[in-house]
């Protein structure tokens, strides 16, 4: 823990500017009339300036102080992105307390866990929904004393003495201020860079949530480094629509907004986000892949509904844009006619489309969290939206790597930002060290020891660094294995690559302790069916279609496309798919082959399809199967099929460019 603190010192955080409240105060002095937060309320965007931001937060702090707030007290913060809640975060920090944001859609049990574990004495929440949860868990969280709510609706008759509206709290604050004129300034002055600024509870796929403690220094240095790395200015606009409890929102909507002084915009409600996006037209935008996907889907649905002339035009130009972008990212030359056509497309399609989506002014946007499909990535980049990949973690105050402008790739997450060091463990796990590395997990030294070693974070992700310095994440470290000859084998990475093809619905890669990699593929019945119809290939059922030689040709091309891209990576070159088969039935949660959330159950599939897998490692070119299927009504039956096996070409070196 000393190491990051020392490296942070090198950044010389000014004594007067080493916490967020102090930085907000600076904004309130330096740019008092610049807009800091907008919120769409009653159909209109209401704005608050930086001086209003600081004033409002100060009154909340005074109110909390009048209730006996002590340094180190934790404040649970629950609700949609609202100016009042961001102010409450600052108010808490100003008094030397620690805000603990909680996901607003958490069920009571989850709220109870965090409130209890964080030992929150106060809670500042949005509305009745959250108040009800807290009143129900209060009996089991004895430390919780005060619940402050912003929207009083529906609570006129609530009599619990712990309740108070935010307006009432601020009134108390005014009275308190009259009697204690120096309290607020004194408390703010006592705050320092190494105080805990926030505790973000990470859900995690296993076990109970862990509360990552980040200091002001962690957040200020990292947010500032990333802002400089990316050239952010005070004129940025962002839409704050992702949960406040998620570290990403805290970095973008709080830390970076305060450091650079840009404006954040709170949507009217969760249901209006895409509409508000259009009205705000942000210059800086973040979305996990599912958000990009849903925007793309909304476009495609409208294209399908358009008259044929428009539809044909849009599809033609979208294909052109994606083709150009693919070449650019692959450092391949773009044909002259394509370059000449692009401006026309911009006039007819790309410009209006971006305008309609609210992405016209975007200067930089990020996608992170999981792998994004290349089609989606190319779609937005083709339109001229500068979306880039980013790799980050709560424990690192988000930023680890970012793709620089002009150095964007389809399959990497970019290069380390300023002050971040990356190395790989012998097992191929990504380790990093940076000023953003967290203080540890609250009340969980054991988990902290597992994650943090000599200042290095063990990310749990397997990846490698390319010769160009780009980090590539391939899988969760615990899923990564080795082939018999010791070559790295990352099944999920390969499967994702296969699934990026519209014709592949599911794929299971086998290779652990085997001589080479093989794949069991599920075709996408809708996409391949459509493909077959256009080629006058008749079929009766999934099983029938799956075993058509033409379909095998199609999938073989997809597999070879993946192999070709694998060949470009030294570390993955050995893990190309040598043989594959198309399964005679779709993997189905009813048959326990995948989970309800469509995660592959490797162990079970390994057993169930053992004969197929053995055949993949023999020299046979087909294998008869008999499979048990469970029908929708629960009855079981058997089906027989003859499954073909194909070899796919493997590639030795990347093609010459």
């Amino acid at each position: 823990m000393n190491a990051p603190a020392q490296s942070g010192d090198a950044h010389g955080l000014d004594d007067g500017l080493d916490t967020f409240p102090k930085l907000v105060r600076l904004n309130a002095r330096r740019r008092p009339d610049k807009i800091a937060i907008r919120e769409k309320d009653l159909g209109i965007w209401q704005s608050y300036t930086w001086s209003a931001y600081f004033e409002q937060a100060r009154l909340i702090a005074q109110g909390l102080a009048s209730l006996g707030f002590a340094r180190g007290d934790r404040v649970a913060i629950i609700g949609d992105n609202r100016p009042q809640l961001y102010w409450a975060v600052m108010a808490t920090q100003a008094l030397g307390g620690v805000p603990v944001p909680i996901y607003q859609d958490s069920i009571e049990k989850e709220v109870e866990f965090v409130v209890d574990h964080a030992e929150a004495r106060f809670a500042v929440v949005e509305d009745q929904e959250q108040v009800d949860k807290l009143l129900n868990v209060k009996a089991r969280c004895p430390r919780l004393q005060h619940v402050v709510y912003d929207d009083p609706r529906g609570m006129r008759r609530y009599g619990d003495p712990c309740l108070m509206s935010l307006a009432e709290l601020q009134e108390l604050g005014k009275k308190f201020e009259a009697g204690h004129p120096n309290h607020f300034d004194d408390e703010m002055a006592r705050g320092g860079a190494d105080d805990v600024a926030i505790i973000c509870y990470t859900s995690g796929t296993t076990g109970t949530p862990k509360g990552a403690m980040l200091s002001h220094r962690n957040l200020i240095v990292t947010a500032r480094n990333a802002a400089r790395f990316e050239g952010l200015g005070a004129d940025e606009e962002i839409l704050s629509y992702l949960p406040m409890a998620w570290v990403g929102d805290h970095i973008f909507s709080y830390a970076q907004a305060i450091i650079t002084g840009f404006a954040i915009n709170c949507p009217e409600s969760a249901a209006t986000v895409l509409h508000d996006l259009k009205e705000i037209a942000p210059t800086y935008f973040f979305g996990p892949p599912r958000i990009w996907e849903s925007i793309l889907t909304s476009v495609m649905v409208r294209v399908e509904d358009a008259v044929w002339v428009k539809r044909a035009t849009v599809q033609l130009f979208l294909r052109l844009a994606q083709d150009i972008e693919r070449r650019r990212l692959g450092r391949q030359p773009v044909a002259l006619w394509q370059r000449l056509l692009y401006p026309l497309g911009n006039l007819l399609v790309y410009g209006p489309l971006k305008d309609n989506l609210g992405l016209r002014r975007v200067r930089r946007a990020y996608t992170a969290g999981e792998a994004i499909g290349p089609e989606i990535f190319l779609f937005f980049r083709g339109l001229g939206v500068n979306v880039k990949q980013l790799y980050g973690m709560t424990e690192a105050s988000v930023f680890v790597t970012i793709q620089r402008d002009g150095d964007v790739r389809l399959d990497t997450v970019g290069t380390p930002i300023t002050d971040v060091e990356i190395r790989l463990s012998e097992q191929g796990e990504v380790l990093f060290r940076s000023p953003g590395v967290f203080l540890g997990y609250a009340k969980n030294p054991e988990a902290t020891r597992e994650t943090l070693e000599d200042g290095w974070i063990h990310s749990g992700d397997a990846g490698f660094l390319g010769q160009d310095g780009h980090l590539k994440i391939i899988d969760r470290a615990r899923d990564v294995g080795r082939l018999a000859d010791g070559t790295l084998f990352a099944p999920k990475f390969l499967e994702n690559k296969l699934k990026f093809s519209p014709y592949v619905r599911e794929a299971v890669c086998v290779g652990q302790t085997r001589p080479w990699v093989t794949a069991l593929v599920n075709i996408d019945l809708a996409a391949v069916g459509n493909w077959a119809e256009r080629r006058n290939i008749a079929y009766t059922s999934y099983t029938d279609l799956a075993q058509k030689p033409e379909v095998y040709e199609l999938i073989q091309r997809e597999v070879e496309r993946v192999n070709r891209s694998l060949a470009e990576d030294q570390a993955l070159r050995g893990a190309q798919v040598r043989r594959f088969l198309i399964l005679h039935k779709e993997l189905d949660p009813d048959d326990q082959e995948i989970t309800r959330t469509r995660k592959i159950r490797r162990g079970y599939i390994g057993q169930k399809y053992a004969p197929l897998i053995e055949a993949l490692y023999s020299d046979r070119d087909h294998v008869p199967v008999e499979a048990k299927v469970t029908y929708e009504d629960g009855r079981a039956g058997t089906m027989r099929a003859d499954v073909k096996i194909r070899d796919a070409s493997v590639f030795a070196v990347p093609e010459a460019r």
């Binding site: 309320d41 009653l42 159909g43 209109i44 609706r153 529906g154 008759r157 409600s269 249901a271 209006t272």
Partner: protein
């Protein structure tokens, strides 16, 4: 919430009958609604519930009896006059302007409050403009209150049924009524939509102090949200009291479950 009607009721129905030819749909029904109360009117199909509501809102005029609102007799008023007095309603079958946006539909609820000349309105100038902005601001409060921001600009006809019902409630609230008549506000809704609607009805009562009379078939809803229940059967009032009392009333059980005639 659960006090019985105090001295001066908001609405008094006194011995009201409604006839269609020889058919007596409502037969000498008397009831009173206290200010701030939520009254549920229940009864088997054809009991005369909607007819009674129509008589109160001026759609039908009673054959006999008297209806007083705010201590003033208004038995024979027409629907617009009733609305001007501060009584708004929703309908059993949704009655929205299907081609108009949700916002415009709700704005029509403000029509009675609008003053000014046709010309100024058309030019959107001076007092007309100021007035429009004031009304729009009020309507936005209702939109926020009923959480329908996302469909503000959607044509009403394109909305699912549950949302249409909510928009209808919004339009009724836009008139700032003292008394709100809801004709089966939860009919045809799923459990979640019903829960939302219950919350909106209770919140309306609390936030705006609106007195509410509603017809409802879902007994769970009735028992949960109403202060008092009136039961009609074959046009006659057969019970009137607190929900827990009505639940055990023999006459009510007979009306709903039927009685064996010896």
């Amino acid at each position: 919430m659960s006090q019985p009607a105090p001295a001066r009721p908001l609405l008094e129905v006194d011995g009201v009958s409604v006839r269609f030819g020889a058919l007596v749909a409502v037969n000498r029904v008397s009831l009173a609604i206290a200010p701030g109360e939520i009254l549920a009117i229940i009864g088997p199909n054809g009991a005369g519930k909607t007819t009674l509501l129509n008589a109160i809102s001026g759609f039908y005029h009673p054959y006999e009896g008297r209806i007083a609102f705010d201590s003033t007799d208004r038995t024979m008023l027409s629907p617009p006059d009733v609305a001007a007095l501060g009584i708004a309603r929703t309908f059993q079958n949704v009655a929205l302007f299907k081609g108009m946006t949700v916002l415009d539909n709700i704005m029509t609820g403000r029509l009675l409050k609008m003053r000014g000349s046709f010309l100024l309105e058309a030019l959107y100038w001076g007092p007309a403009r100021r007035q429009e902005l004031e009304h729009r601001a009020f309507v936005e409060r209702i939109i926020d209150f009923l959480e329908i921001q996302a469909i503000r600009k959607t044509p009403a006809g394109r909305l699912p049924y549950g949302l249409q019902k909510r928009v209808e409630l919004a339009r009724a609230l836009a008139a700032e009524p003292k008394l709100l008549l809801l004709d089966e506000p939860m009919a045809g809704m799923n459990v979640e939509e019903k829960e939302d609607m219950c919350r909106f009805v209770l919140d309306t009562n609390q936030e705006f102090g609106t007195t509410i009379a509603l017809i409802e078939h879902d007994m769970g809803v009735v028992m949960d949200i109403s202060d008092r229940v009136v039961v009609l059967d074959y046009g006659c009032k057969i019970a009137d009291g607190a929900p827990e009392h009505i639940r055990k009333d023999q006459a009510v059980l007979d009306a709903y479950l039927g009685v064996a005639h010896d």
